[in-house]
C-alpha cells in the first residue's frame, strides 16, 4: 500500500463529521470482532464513508451516463467511474480481494475482514467496480495469480512466440502500484478487463438448448497437440460475465477437455483466451429480469475453433473443476456479504420514511399501506434487522 498518501486521504475522509451515529466498525457483530484487525476496522470505516458519500450518490449519475441502446450501453465508459477509481486508489482502497492466507499481492485482509467491507460495497452498484472488488474479479483474478500465468496466443505466428495480454494499461496505473509478479501487473491495476465463463453446463445439460444448437456444440476444449502447440476451443457460453465490455481483454474459459474421463471432476479445464483471437463472437447480451447490467453484463458468446497456445491452460488439463471450485467459497462470502449490505439499505430507507411519518411529517412513499397505522409501525423494521443479523 502506498502508505503516506493514502493515509492522508483516509484521514481527511473519516475526520469529516458524519451524520451516522455509529460507523461501520462499531457495528461489527461482537462475536467476530476478535478476528478483525485494527487496520481492517480503520479501512472498513473508510470504505463505508466512500460508499455512502461518493458511490451511492454516483449510482444514478452512472445510470444516466450509460445511455440507451445495447451497443452504446456496452461500450459506455462513464468518466465518473474512472474518477471514482482514482479516488479509491487515493484512499488506498484497491486490490483488497485477495485473501491474505493465499496471496501476497492483495491488501492482506482476511476473508472475514474483506467480507465486512464487501457488505458496505453491496450498498452501491458502482462501489465494487471502482475497487475491482467484484466477486468475479475475486474469483478469476486470484485464479490467474495463483499459477502466475503467462498468457500466450497461438495465432501469433511462430512456435513459441507469445505476447502478454495485460498490455492494456496506462502508465500511471503501473506506476501507482508495482506488483510483484510482472505478468499480473496489468490486471491488478485494472484496465485489462476479464470475463469468466463457466456456465457451459447451462446448455450442455439443457436438453432443449442442446437441440436448438445442434450436437456439434459439445462445450469442448479440444486439445490437439499440434506442432504449433495450439488448443482448439469449440464452445458456446451463456452468462459470460463482463463479455459485453469491449475492454475485456481476457476470457477465462472453462470447457470439457476430456469429456470421457471416468472421473467427472477431471473432465474440465480452464484456459485463458486473448479476446482478440479469431473465432470469437460476442453474440448478444442476456437480460436478467429485464435488466442488462451494462456495461458489465452477461454475454452469450461463441467460440468457434478458437486456437490458443496450450500453455494458456491454467494449472493444467483436467484441473478446471479444482480451479473454479477453489475460489467459489470466498466468492460466495463476497456475494453473501454484499447481499447483506444491499438489504441493510432497505432499513435505511424505511427507517428514514418511518421516522418521518411518526414525527407527523409527510411520508415520501407514494402509496400508503395498512402498516402506516401507528400501532403497527414499530413492527416493520424488525424482520429486516433480525434477518440481517441472523
Amino acid at each position: 500500500m502506498v502508505a503516506s498518501k493514502s493515509e492522508a486521504s483516509q484521514k481527511l475522509l473519516v475526520s469529516d463529521k458524519g451524520s451516522r451515529p455509529i460507523n461501520a466498525s462499531g457495528r461489527i457483530p461482537v462475536m467476530v470482532r476478535p478476528w478483525v484487525s485494527e487496520r481492517a476496522m480503520k479501512t472498513l470505516d473508510v470504505v463505508e464513508k466512500f460508499v455512502e458519500e461518493e458511490c451511492i450518490p454516483a449510482d444514478p449519475v452512472i445510470a444516466c451516463l450509460t445511455g440507451e441502446g445495447t451497443e452504446k450501453r456496452f461500450s459506455a465508459h462513464p468518466q465518473i467511474i474512472e474518477d471514482l477509481k482514482l479516488r479509491a486508489k487515493e484512499l488506498g482502497l484497491w486490490n483488497m480481494f485477495l485473501p491474505k492466507n493465499h496471496f501476497k499481492e492483495g491488501a492482506g485482509f482476511s476473508n472475514l475482514e474483506y467480507g465486512l467491507m464487501a457488505e458496505m460495497l453491496g450498498k452501491s452498484l458502482v462501489a465494487s467496480e471502482v475497487r475491482i472488488f467484484v466477486s468475479l474479479g475475486t474469483l478469476t483474478l486470484s485464479n490467474i495469480l495463483r499459477p502466475g500465468h503467462q498468457l500466450r496466443s497461438a495465432r501469433h505466428g511462430k512456435h513459441g512466440s507469445h505476447r502478454q495480454v495485460w498490455h492494456r494499461r496506462t502508465k500511471e496505473e503501473v506506476a501507482w502500484k508495482p506488483a510483484r509478479r510482472q505478468d499480473s501487473v496489468g490486471i491488478l491495476n485494472d484496465r485489462a478487463g476479464r470475463c469468466l465463463q463457466r456456465r457451459h453446463q447451462h446448455w450442455v445439460d439443457n436438453a432443449q438448448g442442446r437441440q436448438r444448437l445442434g450436437s456439434e456444440w459439445r462445450g469442448e476444449i479440444k486439445i490437439q497437440h499440434r506442432s504449433d502447440r495450439g488448443a482448439d476451443i469449440l464452445v458456446q457460453k451463456w452468462w459470460s460475465s463482463g463479455a459485453g465490455d469491449p475492454r475485456c481483454a481476457v476470457y477465462i474459459t472453462m470447457g470439457k477437455s476430456d469429456p470421457d474421463n471416468k472421473d467427472p471432476y477431471q473432465q474440465q479445464s480452464v484456459i485463458l483466451v486473448d479476446a482478440d483471437t479469431p473465432g470469437i463472437t460476442v453474440k448478444r447480451m442476456l437480460s436478467v429480469f429485464g435488466y442488462d447490467d451494462a456495461p458489465h453484463g452477461h454475454g452469450h458468446i461463441i467460440f468457434e475453433n478458437v486456437r490458443v497456445h496450450e500453455s494458456n491452460m491454467v494449472l493444467g488439463a483436467g484441473r478446471g473443476f479444482e480451479i473454479i471450485q477453489g475460489r467459489l467459497g470466498p466468492g460466495r462470502i463476497h456475494h453473501a456479504m454484499r447481499s447483506i449490505g444491499a438489504v441493510s439499505r432497505t432499513g435505511d430507507i424505511t427507517n428514514c420514511d418511518l421516522s418521518n411519518s411518526i414525527s407527523g411529517r409527510k411520508s415520501t412513499r407514494l402509496f400508503h399501506c395498512p402498516c402506516e397505522r401507528p400501532q403497527e409501525e414499530a413492527f416493520r423494521p424488525l424482520p429486516q434487522r433480525a434477518r440481517c443479523d441472523a
Binding site: 450518490p57 430507507i349 423494521p381
Partner: protein, 144 residues
C-alpha cells in the same frame, strides 16, 4: 426431505449464531448494552424452533401429532417460548423503536446523497431521464 433437513440446519445454525452473539455481547459489557442482540435472539429462536418442529411433524404425519413421538410436546412447549420472558411483541416493539431511532440520521444521509447526486449530475453534464418516458398527450379538442 433432504431439502427440509438442510433448511432446518440453516435455520438452527443461524439462530444459534444470533444467540451466541448476544451472549458475547452481554459478557462484554452487560445486558443493558445488549438489548438489540437479546431481542433478536428472543424473537428468532422460538420462531425457528417452531418452524423446524413443524417441518418434522409434517414429515411424520399423524405420528407426529400424537404421543408416539415427542414432537407434539416439543411444539406445545416451544409455542410458549414466544410468550414467556416477554412475548414477541414486546421485543419487537422495543427493537423496532430503537432501530427507528436511526431514522433521523438515515434521512440526513439519504438527503445528503441526493444532494451529492444532483451535484454530480451537474458536474458530468447529465440530466436525469426516465427511458420509459412517453409524455403522450391526448387530443386538444373536446369531443363533446
Amino acid at each position: 426431505m433432504l431439502e427440509r433437513i438442510a433448511q432446518s440446519r440453516i435455520d438452527i445454525d443461524a439462530a444459534r449464531l444470533v444467540v451466541c452473539n448476544a451472549a458475547i455481547k452481554i459478557d462484554e459489557q452487560d445486558a443493558k448494552h445488549a438489548l438489540k442482540e437479546i431481542a433478536e435472539a428472543k424473537v428468532l429462536v422460538p420462531k425457528t424452533l417452531l418452524e423446524v418442529i413443524d417441518r418434522t411433524i409434517q414429515a411424520y404425519g399423524g405420528e407426529g401429532v400424537c404421543q408416539d413421538t415427542p414432537l407434539a410436546y416439543m411444539y406445545a412447549h416451544g409455542r410458549t417460548m414466544r410468550i414467556v420472558d416477554g412475548p414477541d411483541e414486546v421485543h419487537l416493539q422495543q427493537l423496532g423503536k430503537n432501530e427507528n431511532k436511526r431514522g433521523k440520521a438515515a434521512k440526513e444521509n439519504i438527503d445528503a446523497q441526493k444532494a451529492k447526486t444532483a451535484q454530480l449530475m451537474k458536474k458530468y453534464n447529465v440530466t436525469k431521464m426516465d427511458p420509459l418516458m412517453l409524455n403522450r398527450v391526448s387530443g386538444s379538442k373536446s369531443k363533446l
